[in-house]
């Protein structure tokens, strides 16, 4: 056996078990586990924050309203307006809760005690993606008609007609079937992988600096501990970026329903 083998003999890497939670309690037939509790906490925080900020708005903002207006303007200017133009304001009541739900849900990964990104369980991003997908269908049929929506989504302009025979099935499958999956999976996979990485480095640090200290393993343990801190900082960045990308794509899909490409 080589040195790394001996060193890592008792080390057990964290796996899928990190994402499986035993039910804490039951409400009727529904088992409630930690991710759902965190999801509820995030919802309450988002509602409470915007309630505190905007329930009694003043012309000159103070306190929570100041923060609320910055949050509102960020989503409006960076996500809403580039895609929805003058219709952006109307759609903010969907985009703002989606952005802050996703972001705070991701942020739960680094909150002590919580320490679990809500969106690393695919059900949560998938429900959001399906909500956006249904909204895309509803506004698409309303603004372009059923066949108009199909035509605009599957027939990009300025292609030689012979290509359409191949392009139409590809664009059809891509727009109407794959989109909600890529939308949800992008967020899910990022949160899943990030959580797993942090857990792995933290376990390495704990194992080699605490559980089984050896002269040879000490360096590995220090490396694990340092990387845990580095990856946590990197995760903070990724969490915000993924919330931004998820909401940006939501605005993009809604705009694809509202306006045709031509």
């Amino acid at each position: 056996m080589s040195a790394p083998h001996i060193l890592a003999k008792d080390f057990e890497a964290p796996g899928l078990g990190l994402f499986e939670w035993k039910p804490l309690f039951h409400i009727g037939p529904f088992a409630v586990a930690k991710p759902i509790v965190l999801c509820a906490v995030v919802m309450i925080v988002v509602i409470a924050f915007f309630w505190a900020a905007f329930s009694k708005p003043k012309l000159v903002p103070r306190g929570w309203q100041n923060v609320g207006e910055v949050a509102y303007m960020f989503v409006r200017d960076e996500i809403g307006r580039p895609f929805l133009g003058k219709d952006a304001e109307k759609w903010l009541r969907l985009l703002i809760p989606v952005f802050f739900f996703v972001w705070l849900g991701n942020l739960m990964s680094v909150v002590p005690v919580a320490q679990f990104p809500v969106n690393s369980r695919i059900a949560f991003p998938f429900v959001l993606a399906v909500l956006i997908y249904l909204t895309f269908w509803a506004v698409g049929i309303k603004h372009q008609g059923f066949f108009g929506l199909l035509k605009n989504a599957t027939m990009p302009p300025d292609l030689p007609w012979a290509l359409y025979i191949i392009v139409i099935p590809i664009e059809f499958v891509s727009t109407f079937f794959i989109r909600p999956f890529t939308h949800a999976v992008r967020l899910f996979a990022n949160m899943f992988a990030g959580h797993l990485l942090i857990a792995l480095f933290a376990t390495v640090g704990f194992h080699f600096l605490w559980e089984k200290v050896t002269p040879l393993g000490f360096g590995v343990g220090v490396l694990g501990a340092v990387l845990t801190v580095v990856m946590t900082a990197f995760e903070l960045f990724i969490q915000a970026v993924q919330a931004y990308v998820f909401t940006l794509l939501a605005a993009f899909y809604i705009s694809a329903g509202l306006y045709s490409d031509h």
Partner: protein, 72 residues
């Protein structure tokens, strides 16, 4: 569209959204559609190699489609 500044079609954000969303979805769809045809042909003609060949064709064609729609 008038009023609040930028037009939807002129923004760089739209290109970014296309790059992170439409491009991967189109490439997956290309492989799925071509792969499906390849799988059927492979079963029908009993030539196993047709499935990987069509998967690659789908990848190439979808890449071309992404280039034509979003890259130019």
């Amino acid at each position: 569209m008038t009023g609040n500044g930028r037009l939807p079609d002129e923004s760089q954000d739209r290109e970014f959204a296309n790059a992170v969303s439409a491009a991967p979805a189109t490439i997956l769809a290309g492989m799925l559609v071509f792969g499906g045809v390849g799988w059927l042909l492979a079963r029908w003609l009993d030539v196993t190699a047709l499935l990987p060949i069509f998967l690659v064709l789908g990848l190439v064609f979808a890449g071309y489609l992404v280039y034509v729609r979003y890259g130019r």
